[in-house]
Symmetry: D4
Subunit: 154 residues, 8 copies
Amino acid sequence: MAKILIISASESDLPVMEGAGKVLEEFGVEYEMAVSSAHRSPERTVDLVKKFHNGGGKVIIAGAGLAAHLAGAAAAHFPLPVIGVPLSGGKLEGIDALLSTMQMPSGVPVATVAINGTKNAGILAVQILATSDKNLEEKLIEYKKKLNEHFKNR
Amino acid sequence: MAKILIISASESDLPVMEGAGKVLEEFGVEYEMAVSSAHRSPERTVDLVKKFHNGGGKVIIAGAGLAAHLAGAAAAHFPLPVIGVPLSGGKLEGIDALLSTMQMPSGVPVATVAINGTKNAGILAVQILATSDKNLEEKLIEYKKKLNEHFKNR
Amino acid sequence: MAKILIISASESDLPVMEGAGKVLEEFGVEYEMAVSSAHRSPERTVDLVKKFHNGGGKVIIAGAGLAAHLAGAAAAHFPLPVIGVPLSGGKLEGIDALLSTMQMPSGVPVATVAINGTKNAGILAVQILATSDKNLEEKLIEYKKKLNEHFKNR
Amino acid sequence: MAKILIISASESDLPVMEGAGKVLEEFGVEYEMAVSSAHRSPERTVDLVKKFHNGGGKVIIAGAGLAAHLAGAAAAHFPLPVIGVPLSGGKLEGIDALLSTMQMPSGVPVATVAINGTKNAGILAVQILATSDKNLEEKLIEYKKKLNEHFKNR
Amino acid sequence: MAKILIISASESDLPVMEGAGKVLEEFGVEYEMAVSSAHRSPERTVDLVKKFHNGGGKVIIAGAGLAAHLAGAAAAHFPLPVIGVPLSGGKLEGIDALLSTMQMPSGVPVATVAINGTKNAGILAVQILATSDKNLEEKLIEYKKKLNEHFKNR
Amino acid sequence: MAKILIISASESDLPVMEGAGKVLEEFGVEYEMAVSSAHRSPERTVDLVKKFHNGGGKVIIAGAGLAAHLAGAAAAHFPLPVIGVPLSGGKLEGIDALLSTMQMPSGVPVATVAINGTKNAGILAVQILATSDKNLEEKLIEYKKKLNEHFKNR
Amino acid sequence: MAKILIISASESDLPVMEGAGKVLEEFGVEYEMAVSSAHRSPERTVDLVKKFHNGGGKVIIAGAGLAAHLAGAAAAHFPLPVIGVPLSGGKLEGIDALLSTMQMPSGVPVATVAINGTKNAGILAVQILATSDKNLEEKLIEYKKKLNEHFKNR
Amino acid sequence: MAKILIISASESDLPVMEGAGKVLEEFGVEYEMAVSSAHRSPERTVDLVKKFHNGGGKVIIAGAGLAAHLAGAAAAHFPLPVIGVPLSGGKLEGIDALLSTMQMPSGVPVATVAINGTKNAGILAVQILATSDKNLEEKLIEYKKKLNEHFKNR
């Protein structure tokens, strides 16, 4: 079963959420992808999270806009890391989603990345798995080298 | 059974939430009060909401600070009105709670009042019940008159 | 006479305000629609509100942008629930309307929904009527189920 | 009859509003002072404004906090200048009052001064009267000189 | 000589500033228009303001974006009313200009209108002149009536 | 060698950073603590991060206020997870630190928690280690249960 | 004659502005200090700036709060570097001063430091002089070393 | 060797950064241009800064968006002036970059100009060099005259 679950709060957010999936593929990490809303399909959200945990899932990446509760709702039911991606839907360009995702109460953290930062959410998920996977760690070191080399002679 | 449920996300918010209770008492409306968190006691929150609905409850008032998901979590499981009160705990003085409470996605509204506006939450709950209770409506008309008279000769 | 009055502060806001009307039609709830400004036609606004109340009206939905006083002006003259929709006209994308609508003083609440959240304003109005109308409550429970089912197999 | 009317949205704002009154006294300009709320005593507010206009009043200074509609409500009924002072009551330190006072729709301006800027509201009222009163203009020129001299030898 | 001076901080702002000029023309009030910057042509700005005052000018309307100092610079040298219009040039959509224009220190007010509110700046200038001109006051009363009538039967 | 490194940008932030340390102790996770600044001791910061990585370190928790670059500077040199805690020093109450910590460019994520959320930073670090440590995962499940039970009978 | 001029917009800001003076003394750089306002003593401000320039002055440090125009007003009349320090007076904690100081139009820069960052303003002034003074540059290199050493063994 | 180094955090920012280069060319000041990221090529960034300093470089201009650490990272390793240009990439239009660039801790200033203010960054760099170069100072005085003349007869 996949170690990473990517949940998107609405279908219209899937294209931006795929940024996380692409990174996981580059690093050879399997993932599942689902669409579920904390407010419109709350029970389905809880079920997805619990099944994922029971199946041995390790990290959840949740992206949502506006009053973005999805990452927090996942974190309420998942004892392992939840990464939250605030999305910029709506007139406030993601400021609402940012605060709704990040300002979690004591006891239930969400690891928040930049607005629309789905690519970084993917990398962070890989970094988390790499804390116990030397092969992934090597790949991350290689990845950092390439980022670096990109700037040479510029 | 009470028609109004006041939920507070933490015990430390009870004193400010009692502002809503006091108003309900002035209008002779029964209410229940509970403490439950969307993130720390998510199942208890859902249970409270469902039991309240099954018992004939009509309006929920939910107050929370920071990434204030409590009103939204209640609204996800309650088909009748949920009033959200953003509380000013934390360094951002309630701006985070305001946006987390108000910017709900299409299909699941939360009736948001001012930051720390627990008194107005109570009045709004009375107004909602008054749409089918002439006696309460009379009391609200009387209440408005008194607000008005307060300003006379000043 | 209609139980819901939708007021828009300017004709240019009518298309977005119709989002509330559509929801009411789906739920089979009659409504009236009017255009009136708190600042440009203040007496007409008061008259509309009072006539609506005298005719047995139950809920007002008021949408306005900028220094959005319309919902507050309605609430000053109406003892039953007023729902405010902050609209995103102007350079500040609705932040001004949001604060002008929501930060009402003690004694005169406005039930505020998200920026441009006219659809949710309609649902909230239905929820308020449903506190005394089992038929509407059933429809809302059905509506929530459909929201939920929408996410199945995604 | 006085040419200036100072209105305060609540009694608790009177001490800060007196800053405007003091300036008017220094310049020898008569004023009246009243407490009335756009939301809690809307009819009294309209009456005050209309009587003041009928009595030959020239400038209104209105101070309010939160969803500060008072200056706008006065401007809706007064054809001459309305000066708005956003007050810093509440958790948002006057940002809400600032936007509610200043972002008025086309056709109904409010001359907005700084948050809690009651002294400047008084000076602005004097400046307005001075456009047709050479004596007041002289006093303002003198006032500006004194401001200037205050900085000498520092 | 004209009683109103409209200053624009840059030529690119002239089209929006003309909104003020149009209103003045409708009310039959003469005005002058100039382009001068508080930072790029500071002496010219002071000269314009002083000549305007010496020529009997009564009200200045100053529009600027970004760190909008133009209205404040005019107010530093002019004892009569200065109306400031924050313009929305730049990435912050006028929030910078708004605060730079409105948050003036004690002793030197600027009568600030809404972001890009040049039309209201024109009306406010007319209102100021109308405090000593019955004819203009009548026109303003007429103008308010028309605003009002616009909403009839809508 | 310790698996967690807590870095604080200044000694004055140590008391709040200890919130993370306490949590790690409760979960029986060893950690090191250091004070180093991205701007005042940049080489020391890089050295600390590299030595920690070479010694088998798994997660860095970095807390800083103002233009909070510390977490980002650590992430630039560390291939495994970096948790950033924006601290509320300074007049902007942590909004500056929040954006400086969270808005990282593509390729170099920082897992950001709430303003002053050092306790949640500690829990997140434990969650990351728990992705490969069943014992820690059990403790986290137990921890979540206790959070939950805390709300019973309230 | 001194190479650095520190101007403060009001006497009440002198204590915080002295932070800049102290740094200059540590580096053995002479400075003058004056109090003058862009709005209350505009001609004095221009005179101070011009005299300072004619006397061979090299860098101006200007600190102001609210609609902080002082640094911009200095920059309008000074061809060499002007450093602006936004001060946190007023209810907005310096956000207004920050934008008023930094968002200068093309052609007239102000080198802005952090809110209340008078110490850094002093260091920046020394850095500017050090571009042509090897002795000062050595002192700055020494200063950076000490900052660094401060963190050793912590 | 060039006295000015312009660094851009990403290649996509080069077009806007060239605004600084053009100004330097107009004033006949040589500069180098490089692309390097504080987070993606941290060592290259430090190397660039150190080599520039060793080669006699005097001023660095660094432009970056989002969590804009580039100017701060340069300032950590450079004893002479660093000018920071917050760029408006990303959904927050440069507010994040502004705070990340300007709110530097005590001891390590960054001279921050307006969002996207690359032209002003170039002028400020010239002003800094002009503190010891009479020829450049003359050119700046001439430049200010032309800015001024531009407004004549408008």
